[in-house]
Symmetry: D2
Subunit: 446 residues, 4 copies
């Protein structure tokens, strides 16, 4: 890291003038001046007191001051071009270990050192996560903030290494300050207040979360599991606050029905994969009768894909008839009409199997949830008809849900086959559906 000369570069020439003006701009520049101080000599000896001061200043920035602050951060705390140039040329001249070390040092952003020093203040880690959340919120329209994001992501990724996280069971003995975050963050199946939450923490359920020691009140990611006999085929009984509590000792399956990231500022720093596997191991230890680990997952993009697939379907010999059948989906409440839904059932199941299994030009299926689980080495196990008859469920996936199975013996093999060769792991049932799909009649590839 080279801190020597970045002071001169603080007010770069591409900081939007309008932003740097006025009170917010002044506030941003004041905060930035403290930041400079923090990575100077003075910062080194001040212990944590200067870091506290900077943090406090940042936390009081008015909303309008953050954009100019990030502008300054993106410009001012970058590596010094002249040093990068010197080091790059030296290495190109002679690719020695010393020259490599010099180059590594020259290209590291002073921002990283700034963030490391900010982290020394109490609350520093949480503040940096919040800062990244703000950066991410504005990065679309401020492409030049990418370097700020990259530096934050690099550090946070290193600090939130799995080795530093603890897996904790969440139950009714957990502090309310943690539980309320589950209520706030649960994205897949909304938690409707404390009674709903309590049911999800009863003895026939399990909930686990990763925590970092420095953020004991903040679950990073949590997973909700139902202990069931057989794989759950519909989500409603799992979510019913009034459902009877079953004996967990008689369950043979752990159904993972929701996994939720709580920290937007840690986006892209992946824990989900690790969490699923570790929870599976943990449950296996505690409940040896549980033999199967399966998800009950949404298929968020199915209906959208279906809409796009219309031309392809139309081109089939019986295309017109198929489209007519699919047209019934437009009628509100079609799924409550037994005749309609029966007629649609086999067509939708086979089309959906194709949606999940068919890989695109990037070698992966279109569905984001499928990609996540397939990357983790899971297998597509079973499609479930009318598994989620909520408005959203009907809207997004015609009420279909899917079970992915985590067979811990197979996940590595599945993962490699998927990543290297684009092979999608799917059960016999799924493959049969896929082969039966009208769109597959020409060429099947599973």
């Amino acid at each position: 890291m080279a801190t020597g000369s970045f002071f001169k570069r603080i007010i770069g020439d591409f900081v939007r003038p309008s932003r740097a003006a006025g009170r917010p701009g002044r506030k941003a520049r004041e905060a930035m001046a403290l930041c400079e101080s923090l990575i100077s000599e003075r910062g080194e000896v001040s212990g944590t007191s200067l870091a506290r001061e900077v943090l406090s200043e940042c936390q009081q920035l008015p909303d309008a001051a953050w954009a100019p602050f990030f502008d300054l951060l993106a410009t001012g705390f970058s590596p010094a071009p002249e040093e990068v140039r010197g080091a790059a040329e030296a290495w190109l001249g002679a690719a020695t270990a010393e020259n490599l070390a010099r180059l590594q040092e020259a290209v590291e952003s002073p921002r990283q050192e700034l963030f490391r020093r900010l982290n020394m203040a109490p609350g520093g880690t949480a503040a940096l996560i919040a800062m990244r959340q703000r950066v991410l919120a504005g990065i679309r329209t401020n492409a030049h903030w990418k370097s700020v994001d990259a530096d934050l992501a690099h550090l946070l990724g290193s600090w939130f290494n799995r080795g530093f996280l603890t897996l904790q069971r969440i139950d009714w003995r957990t502090p309310a300050i943690v539980l309320e975050k589950l209520i706030a963050h649960e994205a897949v199946h909304q938690i409707r207040g404390w009674d709903d939450l309590r049911r999800r923490l009863e003895s026939d359920r399990r909930c686990f979360a990763f925590f970092h020691p420095v953020l004991p009140d903040e679950p990073l990611i949590f997973i909700e599991v139902a202990l069931t006999k057989g794989m759950s085929a519909t989500v409603r009984p799992l979510l019913d606050p009034a459902a009877q509590v079953d004996d967990p000792g008689r369950a043979d399956t752990a159904t993972f029905y929701s996994i939720t990231n709580c920290q937007e500022g840690l986006r892209g720093i992946s824990f989900g994969n690790l969490l699923i596997k570790q929870v599976a191991e943990e449950i296996g230890r505690q409940l040896p009768r549980v033999q199967r680990y399966a998800t009950l997952s949404p298929i968020p993009g199915f209906r959208a894909w279906l809409a796009e697939a219309r031309p392809r379907i139309e081109r089939l010999p019986d295309g017109a008839a198929l489209l007519a059948l699919l047209g019934r989906l437009d009628a509100s409440g079609w799924h409550r009409d037994a005749k309609d839904s029966d007629a649609l059932r086999s067509l939708l199941l086979s089309l959906c199997s194709r949606y999940l299994v068919e890989t695109g030009s990037d070698g992966e299926p279109a569905d984001a949830v499928a990609r996540f689980h397939l990357r983790n080495g899971a297998r597509i196990e079973r499609l479930n008809w009318l598994a989620d008859d909520s408005d959203q469920g009907i809207q997004r996936s015609a009420g279909l849900m899917v079970n992915y199975v985590y067979d811990l013996e197979q996940v590595e093999k599945n993962h490699e086959a998927y990543v290297k060769d684009g092979q999608v792991a799917a059960s016999h049932e799924l493959r049969a559906l896929y082969r039966a799909c009208p769109l597959s009649r020409s060429a099947a590839k599973v």
Copy 2:
């Protein structure tokens, strides 16, 4: 990070052939093959299981296998030269943010990703610290390990950021597994067993340590403090296991008499500065009557400096007489002979003040302990005659010890003056001694 092509580079051409041969070499290569696997695709999905396996393999390496292992690590997991070259040339062609990001990625060692993945296994952090300890132990004769050390130091420095450490008081309620590490590591004033330790943890003493949450049984650094009336002038009463326990409520001074790093594998990752200041704040909160924070420190290099200063002394007008006086130090037990010691006293005090205060060409005094405290912003306060009459104390510093004072209001100012202008903070008393020093008659600079 670029992992794509490093496999081919594993067996580089400067790995000592002798090392790579035989059983240790084979063991090293086997471990290395697992390491490669860990940073490949497979490592990404295996959760922590592969990391555990690699760790276990490493921990079973025979002693002789570590050198070839580090050789392989130094060669094989370096950035790919062709990618560095491409990225460097691109950046030199156009110094855009994108090209900088590409260059940053190209120069990062795959080793860092390897270490991050190793860290995911239980015990991973401890293993990496131990690994660095081995690297440091052999680095003198294996200069090419520097890159391995640099990568470990970079990661450990980031992970052991102050923000992640907890300050804990050590007392008689602390688990034995922690206390025995104090006994093992105390380097300044050896702890002679559990009774000695217990005395150092009585109510008129304080002991604090930094811990990392992932290593709850391992103090990283600890400091021993005596609560006293006035600054301690001699060390013996502080170390006497049979000394009477005083009322801590009546103390006005906290005398820091020992600070010890416990983790050789964290060498160079500095906590000492932060520990002293935070302990001072903590004591100030608990015991508002304590007004002064001072060390009672050794002067390890004084006699060696004195030997080197002989020619300079000889050149003084009364040089011969002074050397004759200093010659008395050669007689064993001189310090127990009142006449001798009185005669030497003022001469040694003044010479020692010069030793501590005089800065060399690097702008700092020669004494390592002095440099540490002056960098931290402390002030040299008082020299203490016959403060440490142990054999070692007589040998190294003619029995002298020194108090450094931490005035929390002044430390930043002192530090800046020291670092920027080479100004050494010293009390009036010290300055007077310095001026009285025969060597200072020509030019004084304090």
Copy 3:
């Protein structure tokens, strides 16, 4: 304790025949047989296994079996009359220490030993508390259960000695399993769900509870405190979930607005007195600016007393006018009619002061809450007009509430004067109101 001969006495002659019959009776007798076994030799050596068995049996008793079970317990486990007789006669013959010891042993119920052994099982203490709750619920109609209650109360009183309780702060970090008990038990000012509770645990509030180590999820009693500027005069702002959170550092008064016992089975084992004083001390330590500890208390019996006082009022010279004025209370919503309430105000305040201060034949005022606080050494400080305009508040006390002040320097003195001489501690303001009361014109006694 004499266990030798109680077996013969199990089926005493006054067990209601109807109860001992049928299935519940059989269940009760089976449980009782296990109880006998538990206090026999076998119980002594079985460790806790037999105690677990008995407990499990008891916990499965059908509701109808409890009455016969208590009947058997009341009869069967009483001291053996012949032994009491022998010991009593011996002591009357010679009042020696030995004979006293023999008498003490003879009169102790075997029930106590039974309960002590039951307590050894996991969950035993909770089960005994629950058992006493059942006893108390039926004791009115089963006077012969008094001995069972007395033995349970004696043991629980000893076990829940203040020395074994811990005072714990309740806040939003408290486990949900504890918090839900606050919601369930709060009797004074109902907690309407989790949002209401959260407001009561914000930084300008304090909530403390006593816990016993063996029941970590069960608050025994809790107290709710608002940190305020000045003594609170109305309860509504304290209970408003949307009220702004004030800075606790600026408060000068701790207003205790609710104190609630959670364990019906510990009725009569008093903690309230101790809790108020210890919480006052605790708050004083944490917030030195808080100088006053006051309650904001209901006056539950005022309107009932007022109704009874009608004849006395009628007899006054202006009795008819006064009664006419009081008649306005019968109109619903009188308190929202400014004219009405103003007219009533001084009359009600003075009558209420009389209600609180006037002692009856038992040397205490009629109001139960007043008696509690006066016994604890508090002082009646201030009456608050329209302090509780809830339906219940209007109904019971015409909307009046009262502040009792705990002056820790005075509580012992106040208590003694109250208990020994029936002196009620009251502020000048209260005394003035009392003297102004129409009923006091004849004879005042404060």
Copy 4:
């Protein structure tokens, strides 16, 4: 409890005048006056402040003041004779439940209420335990303290009910303040410092203790266990600090080699029985391969019994020869002389089996340790020759030790047979030895 009139009785007529005189006597009376105050009205309302004061006063009593203090306690806080008389006569007149309750109340010592109130102060429980320790130390020469002891024992027995104790594993993570108490108290096999202790806490050992929540730093009783293959036959390998650490996973036996009470003030309040059984259960849960729970126990009274048995042996036909053989025990070091020890072996084993198995007029064997384990339901399993060759071992039991086996299925049965019928549970091997004993030739009774 009747507190009304005890004040008058404080200075009873049998307090030794000499004790009540002088400074210690005055101190004792002052403390006693505070005690009276504590159980008066004032004590009821003072919260814990008065209890603290009394406790502090008691803890500052000079040694010489305790005897007069206990004298006063024994006299002054006894039940009021007139009330006991009235209640006794009433009950004799009519043995109603009310009269029984009155009698129970009348005979309870005010001392118990005093102790309960003292217990409310912080440190109260510990102080009462220490007080009982003093009472027990002087009770032989002060028989009138028995009532004080009885009241303390009654309360402590109730408070230290198993239901309130926690079983905790002791290992090297345990706080030093607890570990040093093990070193201090271990009575069976002295712990020679911290290194010795550490070996006893390694992974092939287990150590457990009971704790009461109010005394977290004070183990009440602890047990040391070695995990072994087969029952240990000699104690030396178990005590060797340098012994190799074995794999606990391969052990089939838990050998309990030491059980130690730490609190003299809790004498007679038995935990040992419960501790052994609970530790056996705990080990069984953690290490399912462990199938046998056995002690390796001393036989403290064997040699003394042997000396007393001389006349009986002499009367046997070959009595003279036997005595001559036994005479070899008088030679120092006989056990290191192979010839001697071989000759003695079978004789001593058979005599010792008789010593352990033979019951006296009280229906129990003479050996105190045997009585303890037999009462607990253990079985005498095996005698071990030269199992303890320490001086003490040779002195007390001619080097013999014995294994008692706890078969959890059998302990209740064994216990009942032992307590009711005086039947001693012994292995076939023991019975064979017993039958072979020269003293058994006439009549065997096992």
